[in-house]
Structure formats: structure tokens, C-alpha cells
């Protein structure tokens, strides 16, 4: 279990995290926040790279800073993708396995297993310098899980992965968590981690903005009027029908783009269902449909204002 009690970290005048208190238990917890929100600082505090300026951070009841006892149970996948570039992926994972305390006689099998789990069997023996971003992410995850740690901390591990890679990574982390391990994963993309876990921590400008089940936070957001932008042929024909829906609060046509309209709804799910019916009835040709509010930035704006 990871615990932060009133933890703050300042870099001179710059704030990293400010008075954060939370408990992270077994299973997957997503650490969400925009760039500069303090996610990496929180992760560095938990992995013992930094000490809190005030407050306390513990992992399984121990202070993590330069503490081999904690570090032997931690697996860490850093955000940056720099390595010892002249090594092959296998050499790198082997070095990290030995440094993490994997016994000499076990190391070969453990490394092979970790490399297999991240799907890097075919490229593990080529130099890291030639790896793509996605391959680097996979090798970073392999070195983090090679010693089968109790707690796995991953800083933006889905960056650079293609959709298939993301799904594989999600499956891998879920399987890891299903074995009773703690997984903390940071991301700035809400839907990316929503598929992996419901438990989230939301950081904004160094402060913990929300913690808990993503669905509860979603429902909070959904009560806030959502903007939905639609591009379609003849929007003025279908516009009055949309405005008549009880879930629609307002509607406006885009003067610059005759095929676009934007509306506001207080119940997005209901609107999407009703909208589908209208489109089918009128055989309308919808080209795009998206919600500018359905992203993390909008969540922050809403929660900060709320």
C-alpha cells in the first residue's frame, strides 16, 4: 500500500505537488492530470527518487527514499525513454533484473518471461538505439516487471504505443493487478486508462482534485452541460428536431461552416440515443460528431470551477 500524508514537494519557487493525502491500495489506480500537474513528482516521491518537502510518503509503511528494502519490492517504468543505447533490450533487462535482486540462476528465465510478456521476443537482441518509441515502452515495462515486484509504478507507459500495443499493455497490467499487486499508472488521457481501471487520482496544478471511482466523476461531469459538435449535410433541417429534445439546452449554427452545428446537453447519454433515432428517421448524413468537453481538460475545468 502506498500512502501520502500531507505530502508537498517544491522545486525552489516551483510547486511539484501540494498537500496531497491519499492511499493507493491493491489493483490498478490511474494517476491522471495534464502535463505539469505533478504526476511525475508524485511518482518520484513514491519511488524514492525525491523526498517530500513536507508531509510523508510511505510504501508498505516504509519511507522509500534510498531504501533498498522498499526498492526491492517496487517496479518502476520511468517516463523518459533513454537507455544505455549500446545494449540490446535483453542485456538491459538482464542488468535491471540483477540490480533488482533476481538470483543469477533465475535471471535468464525471468528475463525471457518478461520480454515475452511485453511481446518483444523477436527484437530483444537488437541494440536499444534502433528501437522505435513503442518498442522502448515495451522494454521499459519488461525491466519494471522482471523481478515480479509487489508494487508497479508506470509513468505514462502507453505513450507511443499503437492501439494493439495499448490493449496488450492493458491486459498485462490487469493480469498483474489480478495477482493482488498494486499498480499505479500515470496518464494525461482519461479514456486510455478508463479501459483499465475505475480507480483514479486526479491531480491539477499539484493538488489532488478528486479521488475515487471514475464513474462517479463521470456522472459529476455529465450533470454539467456538455457541448457536442456535429458536422453533417443540411444541419438546418435537423436542427429544430434536435432543439426539441428535452436533453438539449441550446443549439447554434456555425456561420463560417454551413455544415456544422454545436449544441449543449445536460444528459449526453440520453442525447446520443435520441440523436441516433433522429438520424435514422431522417437518413441524415453525419460526417463527424464529437464532444469538446469530453476530455480531461474539460473535466479539470469543470471540477476547478465546481
Amino acid at each position: 500500500m502506498i500512502e501520502l500524508r500531507g505530502a508537498s514537494r517544491w522545486y525552489g519557487q516551483v510547486i511539484g505537488i501540494n498537500d496531497v493525502s491519499c492511499t493507493i491500495g491493491k489493483g490498478i489506480t490511474a494517476l491522471l492530470g495534464q502535463n505539469g500537474a505533478g504526476k511525475s513528482t508524485l511518482i518520484k516521491l513514491v519511488t524514492g527518487q525525491l523526498r517530500p518537502t513536507t508531509g510523508e510518503v510511505t510504501v508498505e509503511g516504509e519511507l522509500p527514499f534510498a531504501n533498498p528494502s522498499v526498492q526491492s519490492r517496487l517496479g518502476y517504468c520511468p517516463e523518459g525513454d533513454t537507455f544505455y543505447e549500446d545494449m540490446s533490450g535483453r542485456q538491459f533487462v538482464t542488468l535491471m533484473a540483477r540490480m533488482s535482486g533476481v538470483a543469477k540462476h533465475e535471471v535468464r528465465d525471468r528475463v525471457a518471461q518478461a520480454i515475452d510478456l511485453v511481446g518483444m521476443n523477436d527484437r530483444a537482441d537488437t541494440r536499444l538505439a534502433g528501437y522505435s518509441k513503442g518498442m522502448r515502452q515495451r522494454i521499459k515495462v519488461a525491466q519494471a516487471i522482471v523481478h515480479d515486484p509487489d508494487t508497479l509504478i508506470l509513468d505514462e507507459p502507453l505513450n507511443g504505443l499503437d492501439p494493439v500495443g495499448r490493449r496488450q499493455m492493458g491486459d498485462l497490467l490487469r493480469a498483474f493487478a489480478d495477482r493482488g499487486k498494486t499498480v499505479l499508472i500515470s496518464s494525461h488521457i482519461l479514456h486510455e486508462v478508463e479501459q483499465m481501471t475505475r480507480s483514479i487520482l486526479l491531480l491539477h496544478r499539484g493538488r489532488l482534485l478528486a479521488q475515487g471511482d471514475v464513474r462517479e466523476i463521470r456522472s459529476l461531469i455529465d450533470r454539467h452541460p456538455h457541448r457536442i459538435s456535429i458536422t453533417m449535410e443540411s444541419p438546418r433541417t435537423i436542427g429544430p428536431k434536435l432543439l426539441a429534445l428535452p436533453s438539449v439546452v441550446s443549439l447554434k449554427y456555425d456561420r463560417a461552416n454551413a455544415s456544422q452545428l454545436e449544441l449543449e446537453t445536460t444528459d449526453p447519454e440520453r442525447f446520443y440515443s435520441e440523436f441516433a433515432d433522429i438520424v435514422l428517421q431522417d437518413r441524415a448524413n453525419v460526417q463527424t460528431l464529437y464532444s469538446p468537453d469530453n476530455n480531461l481538460e474539460a473535466v479539470f475545468k469543470y471540477l476547478v470551477k465546481g
Binding site: 519511488t47 524514492g48 525525491l50 523526498r51 533498498p68 526498492q71 533513454t82 544505455y84 535491471m96 525491466q143
Partner: protein, 257 residues
């Protein structure tokens, strides 16, 4: 992870292609100097060997290699952004630092001793004398141990330690010996010179103010004092390095911001 394994890894890290080329270039300076002197017929004797050793090997090859390998020990991991892999592992930071130090000392010593032997071979070991060469062969590793300790310590304290290290060795060390008084005692090179005990270059045409300044502060350090002082410098520097690395937070600046 055992110290031996760590040492093997640090060796591997040090002996990368680009660094090997750089080592070869630095090691060839002394022998090239010797070849030029041989061809020009200038000081083809013990004095010539002493001159080349002092200027090319002690003041250049050994010092520059110590800067390269010492300063990159920890600061290189920070600027290369690989430091998180080291400081989040259950390996004692002292062990990591000492492994990096020992590998730096061994490599700097081996390359500098090879440069010394090649220089001696060019001048002719028979002319110089085996004892003279052997003395350099064991003073060089000691000097490497001291310089590397200082630069490794510097690399735990500064993110970019190369500039201060170069400033110290090529600005301060070169000039303090010319300042009247005891300022020369601030230079590691002064003590190394006492241990190496090379003959001063043969008297030639007066070099003006530099020679005058040099004569105003004749060396007053004994061999025992040199041994003790250099040993103390190495021990203190390593202690500082171990404490700094053990307690320091190593996060690349741009990440912290």
C-alpha cells in the same frame, strides 16, 4: 548484485566505441611528442622523457581521462537521463559509486601507463633506465586514483562538472605553481610531481617572467608529505562523493521543472 558484477557493467559502459577512440587519441599524445623530439634530435635523453611525461602524460592524458571518466560517473547518468534506473534499484548507492570510481581509476591508469611505456620505448628504456620508468608506472595509478576521486565527487555534486574540472586542472593547476608563496600546494599536480620526481627540463634560454616566477617558489614538499596529502585528498573526496550520492536527489532539471 555483487560489486564484481557492477564493476563489469561499469567497465562495459566505459569501454564504448566512442570512448575507446577518445582514449586512443589521448594516449597517443605522449608517444607522438616523443617521436617529434626524436626526429628533431631535441633532448633525446632522460630529460626529454621527463619533459614528455610531465607535459603530455601527467598534465594532459592522465588529467583529461580522469575528467572524462570521473565527471561522467554520476553526472553522466543524470544528463543521459538514465539515473532513475540506478537510484530506484535495491543496490547500495555507495556500491554503485565505488564501482564507477574503481573502473575509472583502472581505465585511466591502464591507458596512461601504456602512454608512458610507449613514450619510454621511443626514447629507449636502456637510455632512461628501468627504475625511472617503473617509478612512473606506479605513480600514475596513484595520481589517477586521486584525480578520479576528486572528479567523481564533483560529479555527485554538479550536473555539469566538466567545466569546473577543466578550469581547475588547466587554469588553476597550471598557474598556482607560478604564484610566489605556498599557492602551489593547492594543486594536486604539485604533489604528483614530487612523487614522480622528474628532472626539471634542461636549462636553455631564459624564458623570462615565467622562469623568474617559478624560481620564486621552489618546491618545499617532501615525498612523505605528498603521499599523505594525496591520500587524504582521495579519501576526503570519496567520502564527500559517497555522502552526496547517498543523500542526493538525482532528477534531471528539466523533469523537475
Amino acid at each position: 548484485m555483487s560489486f564484481g558484477e557492477l564493476l563489469r557493467w561499469t567497465f562495459w559502459d566505459v569501454l564504448r566505441t566512442r570512448k575507446v577512440v577518445m582514449m586512443a587519441v589521448l594516449a597517443s599524445v605522449g608517444p607522438l611528442f616523443a617521436v617529434v623530439m626524436q626526429l628533431s634530435g631535441d633532448q633525446v635523453n632522460v630529460a626529454g622523457y621527463s619533459f614528455v611525461l610531465q607535459v603530455a602524460v601527467y598534465m594532459f592524458t592522465l588529467v583529461l581521462l580522469s575528467i572524462v571518466f570521473g565527471c561522467s560517473a554520476i553526472a553522466g547518468e543524470v544528463t543521459g537521463r538514465t539515473i532513475p534506473y540506478l537510484v530506484t534499484r535495491p543496490v547500495s548507492r555507495t556500491k554503485i559509486l565505488l564501482a564507477k570510481y574503481v573502473s575509472a581509476v583502472i581505465i585511466v591508469s591502464v591507458v596512461s601507463v601504456l602512454a608512458c611505456l610507449a613514450t619510454a620505448a621511443i626514447f629507449g628504456i636502456g637510455v632512461i633506465g628501468v627504475d625511472r620508468v617503473l617509478k612512473d608506472v606506479w605513480v600514475i595509478p596513484f595520481a589517477a586514483a586521486v584525480y578520479c576521486a576528486v572528479f567523481v565527487a564533483l560529479s555527485t555534486l554538479l550536473v555539469r562538472p566538466v567545466l569546473p574540472a577543466v578550469f581547475y586542472t588547466f587554469a588553476i593547476e597550471s598557474w598556482v605553481s607560478l604564484i610566489p608563496g605556498d599557492f602551489s600546494k593547492l594543486s594536486i599536480l604539485t604533489y604528483v610531481r614530487v612523487l614522480a620526481d622528474h628532472e626539471p627540463p634542461e636549462a636553455g634560454a631564459p624564458s623570462g617572467i615565467l622562469e623568474m616566477l617559478s624560481n620564486m617558489s621552489p618546491p618545499t614538499i617532501t615525498t612523505d608529505q605528498a603521499w599523505t596529502t594525496l591520500s587524504l585528498i582521495a579519501v576526503i573526496a570519496l567520502t564527500v562523493g559517497v555522502i552526496a550520492f547517498g543523500r542526493g536527489e538525482y532528477v534531471p532539471n528539466e523533469e523537475a521543472a
